[in-house]
Each structure stands twice: as C-alpha cells, then as structure tokens.
Amino acid sequence: MKSTSLVFGVKQTARSLRQNALMSLASVLTVALSLLVAGLFGLITANLGHIARLAEQQVEVTVFVHDTLPVEAVRTVESQLKALPGVTQVTFVSKDEALARLKAVFANDKDLLAEVEQQNPLYRSFEVRTARPEQIKPTAEAAGKMTGVVKVNYKQEVIEKLFRVTRAIRVSGLAIMVALALAMVMIISNTIRITVFARRREIAIMKLVGATDGFIRWPFVCEGVFLGVVGAGFTSLALWSSYSWAWSGVQRGMPFIPLLPKQPLLLDLTVLILGAGALIGAIGSALSLRRFLRV
C-alpha cells in the first residue's frame, strides 16, 4: 500500500465520518453503550468472584488440643498441621483468647458467661486455613488423626452451601458475562453492517471506477476502528468514574464488603475494552463489506 492510499484512507475516513455524522454518532453511541454494559458486568462479576474467593478463604478448620497436652507436643501438632498439603495459615488460640471470643459472641447473655468464666472449659485450638476449599475436608481428617487432638471442627454444611453458592455465582457470572459480551459484539457488528449496507451503492461505484477491494476496505476498517475506539473511550471514562464512585461509596458505607481495589482492575478493563472496540470495529467493517465488494 503506497502512501497515497494511506493518506487517502485517512482523508476518506474523516470525510465519511463528517458526511455521515448522524450515522457515525449513532454508531459510536451504540458501541459505547454496548461496551459499557459489558464492562459494567465485567466489574460486577470480577467483584463477586473476589468476594466469593474471600468468603471461601474464611472457611477454616478448628483443631482442638487436649488440656493436658504439654506445650512441646502442641508445637509438634502445629508443625504437623503446617506440613499438610494446601495449608496456608495456622493460628494458635489460647484458652484465654477462646474465652474472650465467646464473651464477644454472647455479650448479651451475662448469666451464661458468668458461669463459664468461673472455670474456663474451653480448649486451646489451632485455626487452620487452606489454599482451596476442597482441601478443608482432607485437612480436617488428617488433623483428627494427630496425637493430642481432641476434636476437629468444620462447618461441613455451611461450607458446602457456601461452595455451591460461590460456584453458582462464578459460573453464572461468567456465563452472563460471556453471553453479554457476545450480545454486544453482535449489536456492534449489526450496527456496522447497517451502516455499510446504507452505503452499498457507493461501494459499487468505487469498484466500477477501478478501486481494488483493499483500497475500499481500508477506509472502512479505519472508520470501524475509529468508531470502536471512540465508543470504547467513552465507555472507559464512564466505567472509571462509576466504579470509583461505587468503590468509595462502599468503602464509606459498607466497609465489610471487600471490593477489588481500583487498580489494576480499571486499567486492565480499559485496555480490554479499547482493544475490543477496535477489534470489533475493524473485523465488523471488513466482514460486513465482503458481500458488497462482489461487483
């Protein structure tokens, strides 16, 4: 491609955008809105996934050790626990600390607490966390067989509920994201198809005057990329500001909900969206053109 046709391509893109301002605007808007919807749900899915992961990581096995077990043996249990596959964190809870926690939970139940406080019936324990939720059960079983361990606690039912819910969130979130992304790609390429269709006579004329397919395609692809990128730009701005807004809102009002930090999330998403916009614009234009180039 010689420089003339490059210059021509750019000039032609600019002209076409100007001449078809209304159509261009409509297309940009459609692209922007479509990407916005997809991006928004990308953010939501990412955060739900994050929350689900954190929730899963909260799940722990509590390993109680006998009151009579000497400190060295307790140490042994600790190192055995740490050696188990998948174990990421082992925290020791002393008798006093266990009591303090109980107090916190039953803060209103003074009578019960008074009773318990007289002679602390609570065991020393280890709270064990694993990398992946599936490792909870084997860890609990292994811990149960260690010497000095009285009993092992883990809320099987709750864990399973939690797993099922988080898995459902992940799967459906991803499914919705994919469906949405597909839908949006289709909407954008539909829009491009319609704009190309509206100019099929022009395309035919160009071919009759001796233009090659590539020569005609080039400005259209430029235009597609331009529309895609401008749309994506608007989208990124909107996502950036709305996520920042939601993020500080949640930080202030509901600090217990752990949202993903703004960066690198937003940066990644912006790159993704700009790329998607450009790509859909380019490919959409090129594909839509094909049938009208057969002149």
Binding site: S5, I205, M206, K207, L208, V209, F215
Partner: protein, 229 residues
C-alpha cells in the same frame, strides 16, 4: 483490442438483453452504438468493463477474456477503461473535485499528480467554478460533465460513453464531442451509446445499430438511421 464472440446476455429475470452478438473494434476506432430504448446498448458496453458477465460467448478486451479474469485483475481492467455511466454514478458524499480525484487515487497516483490534473480536467468540461459542489448541488448537465471528467482523467485507452450528452444543450454537447474526438485522435478507442441523431449524423463515424438485443447494422461512416421519410 475489443472483440465480442457470439455473446448472449440473459438477465436474472429472464430478459434477453443481447442475442448472439458479434463485434470487433480495433484500437483507436470511434464507434457509435445506436438503437431504440431497451435495445441492449448499455448492456453491451457493461460487458466490456465487466459490470455484467456474458451468459454465453466471449468478451475479449486487451486480448483477454474478461469473464476469466482473476478477481484481483478486474480493477486493473477497469482502470484502462474510462466509463461515462448513463446514470452518472457519482459519489454523493464527495464534491466535484474529489469525485474526479477518486478515479486517480485508486490508481495510486501521486498527490502532486492529482493536484495538477484534476483541476485541469474540470476546466476542460467547464466545471472549474463548481469544483467544491456536491453532486446534488449540480445541475443535470453539470453532473453529466462531472461524470465525463472522471472518465477521462486517467487517460484511458478505451473510453466508454453511455449517452454522454443526454442532459446537455447542443453547444455543450458539441464541446464534449470535440473533447472525445481529441482523445480519440490521441489514441483512445471510443465507444459511445447515444440517441443524439444530429451528432451521429454529423460525425460520420462507424455506427453500430442495435434492436432487440441484436446488431442490425454495422456501418463505417454511418448515420443514425436510414430514414424512411
């Protein structure tokens, strides 16, 4: 240079536009194609630059069967043929200047070349003042002259003119005819479908008369019609 061998063209809706047409045009000839409306004149010329493909028979241009051309060679063929379309086929979103420049741009001519030649050609057809106007802002005759300018800008070796004076007053028509004749003298083969009886009769060039898809007369230094009255 151009040869049609037993060409038949049937349009998808079963209209037979050309029936067993044989025609040979040598390099540098000037040929009028005449005949009543619907006789097949436009169809005939459309075969040359492959807007349409013959249903049967061969269309040979520059020694090649155009039906057999590779897809990528078709633009090259078209660049050697300047076409003045009966319905102008101007690009609606470009002004006069750009419409003409476009035909040069597709050949990847240099920008200097374009800046030099386009205004010159517009001047030649009398559109210098209207260079910035869009097709819908031009009068019928101005559009036609713009179509002519675009067809000749490339210095094509074959010039196909389909009714190039239909919207022009006699004076302007004769101006255009002189232009075509000059191009012809400089080596271009000119094929012109027309109803302009006065012009055909005055020019004394080869006349191919058609009717109902057949060539009914092919006459050197011919006239528009053998008048009965």
């Amino acid at each position: 240079m151009i040869e049609l061998v037993d060409v038949t063209k049937v349009y998808p809706n079963d209209v037979v536009a050309l029936k067993n047409v044989n025609l040979k045009i040598d390099r540098g000839e000037f040929v009028f194609v005449v005949g009543p409306s619907g006789a097949g004149k436009s169809t005939l010329v459309r075969l040359l630059y492959r807007e349409e493909v013959a249903t049967r028979g061969q269309v040979i241009v520059h020694g090649k069967n155009v039906a057999r051309l590779r897809r990528s060679s078709i633009p090259l063929l078209r660049r050697t043929i300047g076409v003045i379309f009966q319905d102008f086929k101007l690009l609606p979103d470009r002004n006069a200047l750009d419409n003409v420049a476009f035909a040069l741009e597709v050949t990847e001519a240099s920008r200097r070349e374009i800046r030099r030649r386009v205004p010159a050609v517009l001047d030649l057809v009398g559109l210098k003042d209207r260079a910035r106007a869009f097709p819908h802002e031009l009068s019928g005759g101005e559009q036609q002259r713009l179509a002519i300018a675009r067809a000749i800008i490339n210095g094509p070796s074959i010039l196909v003119a389909d009714e190039p004076t239909g919207n022009l007053d006699p004076d302007t028509s004769w101006g255009i005819m002189n232009l075509l004749q000059t191009l012809n003298r400089n080596g271009a083969t000119v094929i012109m479908a027309t109803h302009a009886k006065a012009i055909v009769n005055a020019m004394k060039k080869r006349v191919v008369a058609m009717d109902h898809g057949r060539i009914i007369r092919d006459q050197v230094q011919g006239v528009y019609a053998h008048e009965v009255n």
